[in-house]
């Protein structure tokens, strides 16, 4: 699928049908999708294809669509991102289904011969500004989509530099002071934790814990400090089994490097190992799933 998308500029949009600033392409996609009696083109499973009723189709629609636009913004092709034929002898994986739909659009555009060489992995950054990148993974073996890593980037502030400045003595600090970094540790599927009224995803409300910052040796032109401790993360919504707000915790360790003679760190690497108590609606119980993250500084050499 990644190879099939190489010729494309890729972007996303989110919103609701009543939004006043609905882009023209989105309006066209949804007009087709939500039209009464609409049925997706039955290009897959031509044999043994059993047409579903319009009501069935609407019930099976997901909330994600993929639209292919030509360079002038005209809609060439669109399809429900999750309405793939996933059962039976001719079943396709979601990736194969998506790649097939993209290839169909590519041929419609007359671009079949276009670029197929893969671009290198290019992770998000802040255009050269010093930042911390947080890559987070929920190790949920029952839902592969949830095990896809998230990548968030947050700027490093002067206050955080000062907080983490070099010291020959060990000291403690409040994990809340690093909330902008640590609040990025949550699973990819934010639908999991949304406000039922506003439909907004709950944000991390508070970060708790005491961290210790300890000298960790020197080497060449650098000296090191290790930041470690247990942190608790609490979001804005209620827990499934109590009136408390939903929370989870884990162990944090971050190694910071300081050039000799400087109090400011020039690089960091860190890990978070925690447990995310995911609610299993089907069985009305909690599953404890490993939630892991790494921290890495970017563009901090300046």
């Amino acid at each position: 699928m990644v190879r099939a998308l190489q010729p494309y500029i890729v972007t996303s949009w989110h919103g609701h049908r009543e939004d006043p600033d609905l882009p023209a392409a989105v309006r066209t996609v949804w007009q087709e999708k939500f039209a009464a009696g609409h049925k997706p083109r039955p290009r897959q499973l031509q044999t043994n294809f059993e047409p579903r009723s319009p009501q069935e189709h609407r019930q099976r629609q997901s909330n994600v669509d993929i639209a292919i636009l030509d360079p002038d913004g005209n809609l060439v092709h669109s399809f429900d991102a999750f309405q793939h034929p996933g059962r039976g002898p001719q079943a396709k994986t979601l990736a194969a289904y998506t790649a097939g739909e993209i290839q169909f659009a590519t041929s419609e555009l007359g671009l079949t011969g276009r670029r197929r060489a893969l671009r290198p992995v290019d992770l998000p950054d802040l255009a050269g500004a010093p930042a911390v990148r947080i890559l987070c993974t929920l190790e949920d073996d029952r839902m592969l989509a949830y095990s896809a890593p998230t990548v968030e980037v947050v700027p490093i502030t002067e206050g955080e530099r000062e907080l983490l400045s070099w010291s020959p003595e060990a000291r403690t600090l409040d994990a809340a002071a690093l909330k902008s970094w640590l609040a990025q540790i949550y699973p990819p599927g934010v639908m999991e934790r949304t406000n039922p009224q506003t439909k907004e995803a709950y944000r991390i409300e508070s970060v708790e814990g005491t961290l210790t910052l300890t000298p960790a040796g020197t080497r060449g032109k650098h000296r090191f400090m290790m930041l470690r401790g247990t942190i608790g993360l609490t979001d804005e919504g209620e827990d499934y089994f109590s009136e408390d707000h939903f929370s989870y915790d884990g162990k944090l360790e971050i190694l910071l490097a300081y050039p000799q003679g400087s109090g400011d760190f020039s690089a960091l690497r860190g890990v978070f190992d925690g447990i995310y108590p995911r609610f299993d609606r089907m069985h009305n119980r909690q599953r404890n799933i490993p939630l892991r993250a790494v921290f890495e500084s970017i563009d901090t050499d300046s």
Binding site: V10, H14, G15, V121, A148, V151, E152, T194, R292
Partner: protein
């Protein structure tokens, strides 16, 4: 990206001499074990543009098509993976 590589080199070279700091070695080994590899980060091989408007401007400029992911929700950030 160059800064990132430099920072890696600094840390890895430095830790080679930190035999008295097993916790440092352990942390970096854990970091390398947990950090997603290029296969897991394959979506970042795509030419992502932050907004639809910017994507359409670039499409006109470069005469390229746009793949638009439409999410029917109040929140969704495909680029970060939180959606």
């Amino acid at each position: 990206m160059r800064s990132l590589i430099c920072a890696f080199v600094v840390l890895l070279t430095a830790t080679a001499g930190l035999a008295d700091q097993p916790s440092v070695r352990r942390l970096l080994a854990r970091y390398n074990a947990i950090r997603p590899d290029d296969d897991q980060l394959a979506m970042y091989r795509l030419d992502w543009i932050e907004s639809l408007a910017d994507a359409q401007d670039l499409a006109l400029l470069e005469n390229r098509p746009v793949c638009l992911v439409v999410i029917h929700a109040r929140y969704g950030n495909i680029t970060s993976g939180h959606c």
